[in-house]
Amino acid sequence: MRSSSAFWPALALTAPLVLFLAFAYALPFLGVALWSVTLPEPGLGQYERLVGDPLVQSVFLRTFRICLIVTVIAVACAYAVTYVWVRGSRLQRRLIEICIFVPFWISLLTRAFGWLALLSTRGIVNASLQALGLTDGPLALVRNEPSVIAGMVHVLIPFAVLPLASAMRTVDERMLLAARGMGASRLRIFWSVFLPLTLPGVIGATLIVFVFSLGFFVTPAILGGGRSIMVAELVYLRMFQSPDWGLGAAISVALVVIVAALMGLLARFARLGLTGGGR
């Protein structure tokens, strides 16, 4: 790439984006990183707190647990949705497109409040259940982990659909025909041919969804109602609710490092998987 004649034009064309990211993202982040080792006094004290503080630890653990559950559910749902989108009839494809891409245009905040309207004590679900006489009082459907997970899965499914769709579109139809011709049932074809062939897409979708979910702020803040705080909300609290900028900055840096490490690891894994015959 560097030796090719396309290098300089390519650089010129991408320069605005690179400059924007440098000034709007990298520089401010360096400032945050600086805070983490200078506030309230210079040193690595905030990072020691990060490792030692049971509250910070529990928030990190909860974040990983929720994000893992969200990723598994979102990728599994997205796999089914994408399968129908790629291989279904024309009508099915249209329906999926509407269901997947229309929510894309609606803000995160609106969708979180939508879930709230559904699940709160006087929300549609509770009102219906009581009207039908199935429950006596309102159920606590919101301000808990399951509601956070539901809201996050809803937001993240479309992000998993795109890498899965590109993987499913590359599957050679003749391979599935060949498996059928050899007498394989649909389930068998799925498990031993279709799923392995789309595994790179599953890895890609998992990576994207997990990384996105780690930084979720609005959805857990609204649906968790302050009870199941996740890392991004903890940063917000340290920064804006308590004068503890140093710890907030240290948590941010830790989160970025974790995400970068995950990206690196999974990108390497995906590359091995894509070139094939690695073993």
Binding site: R174, M175, L177, R180, G181, G183, S185, V193, P196, G277
Partner: protein, 360 residues
């Protein structure tokens, strides 16, 4: 090795996609253990017919019987015919041995039996030492062998092959053709083979079925079909051929004859012709001489050009009316006569020509 080969009876099979008719009224008996080639230009319906035989596409009309049992509506996975796809369709994430084991695993064959049968067939197709490689690590010929082994390992009653050699270079193609012929002999399975390459069809098959525009034009042994095609399309598709328009058709003791540029030419008897027709002769069945022939057919013609083909020579002639004639002669024989001037007689025996209806 095969438990039994199966015969297929195709009765009036048709297939339409919307308004497009891909196959029309195909009736054909495929004998147990034969090597039948479906030959035709692209878009002739031969591959669609193979897909209907395999069960991947449902026939729009007609019936398909397997040894007398109606299988028209049975699914591909229940017919369990072996199939070699164009491009092989090997599973890229499985090793050679795993690819070949797949149809046995599907059938619930015991683990040790699978290992034994996979090893045996790997030896028979000459892939020993490649068991643990992925398809991407193999050459085209080796991938072809894996595809054949995978399709034959479960001893299917019928093996369907869809243009299996189209991706191979000429040299390898010849070797793989011999290999397929050998496997056909050893397994005794009924082979149904699709190709658009007429020389491949002629050298491999016990019978050839010629397709064009979704119709079955002629079925027969390679020699019969090459030497006695029933229509102009079949005659021209199977190889180069000279077509001489003849008029004033008449029947005599020797056969049927017609007038071409005031010369009466005779061919084996063809009852259903009247008025005018076309006399067809293969270039290799013609000869060249300076004198009119004492026996057989002869047409005066002028040499227009020669092409050296190594062992043979292709001579282009034109008759007085401008009808082109092509003759292939062994190079040595051609060399002896060429210097005798541009005007010759192109000759052939009565038996080597055949009459075809004018429109076909």
């Amino acid at each position: 090795m095969s438990k039994r080969a199966v015969g297929l009876q195709v009765i009036g099979i048709g297939k339409s996609f919307g308004h497009f008719t891909a196959l029309k009224d195909i009736t054909l008996d495929i004998a147990p253990g034969e090597f039948l080639t479906l030959l035709g230009p692209s878009g002739s319906g031969k591959t669609t017919f193979l897909m209907v035989l395999a069960g991947f596409q449902a026939a729009s009309e007609g019936r398909l019987l397997s040894d007398g049992v109606d299988i028209t509506r049975s699914r591909a996975e229940d017919r369990s015919f072996g199939m070699v796809f164009q491009g092989y369709a090997l599973f890229p994430h499985k090793s050679v041995a795993q690819n070949i084991a797949f149809p046995l695993q599907v059938r619930g064959v015991a683990r040790e039996d699978i290992a034994r049968r996979v090893d045996a067939i790997i030896a028979r197709v000459g892939l020993v030492g490649h068991e643990n490689k992925r398809p991407a690590q193999l050459s085209g010929g080796q991938q072809q062998r894996v595809a054949l082994a995978r399709a034959l390992v479960f001893e299917p009653p019928v093996l369907l092959l869809d243009e299996p050699f189209s991706a191979l270079d000429k040299h390898l193609r010849g070797r793989m053709q011999e290999e397929v012929a050998r496997l056909h002999g050893e397994f005794g399975t009924t082979f149904v083979f699709v190709t658009h390459d007429q020389s491949e069809a002629l050298s491999l098959s016990s019978r050839i079925a010629i397709f064009n525009h979704g119709r079955l034009l002629q079925v027969g042994a390679p020699r019969d079909i090459y030497e006695r095609p029933s229509s102009r399309f079949v005659a021209e598709f199977l190889g180069e051929i000279n077509l001489l328009p003849v008029e004033a058709i008449g029947h005599c003791a020797r056969g049927t004859s017609g007038l071409f540029e005031e010369v009466r030419l005779t061919a084996p008897r063809h009852e259903n012709l009247n008025g005018s027709a076309v006399l067809a002769v293969r270039p290799e069945h013609m000869s060249v001489s300076a004198e009119p022939p004492a026996e057989g057919n002869g047409v005066p013609a002028r040499l227009a050009g020669t092409t050296y083909l190594g062992s043979a020579m292709r001579l282009a002639f034109a008759t007085s009316s401008g009808t082109p004639l092509t003759v292939t002669l062994p190079s040595e024989a051609a060399g002896r006569i060429l210097d005798r001037g541009p005007d010759f007689w192109v000759t052939w025996s009565f038996d080597n020509g055949f009459l075809l209806p004018e429109q076909s």
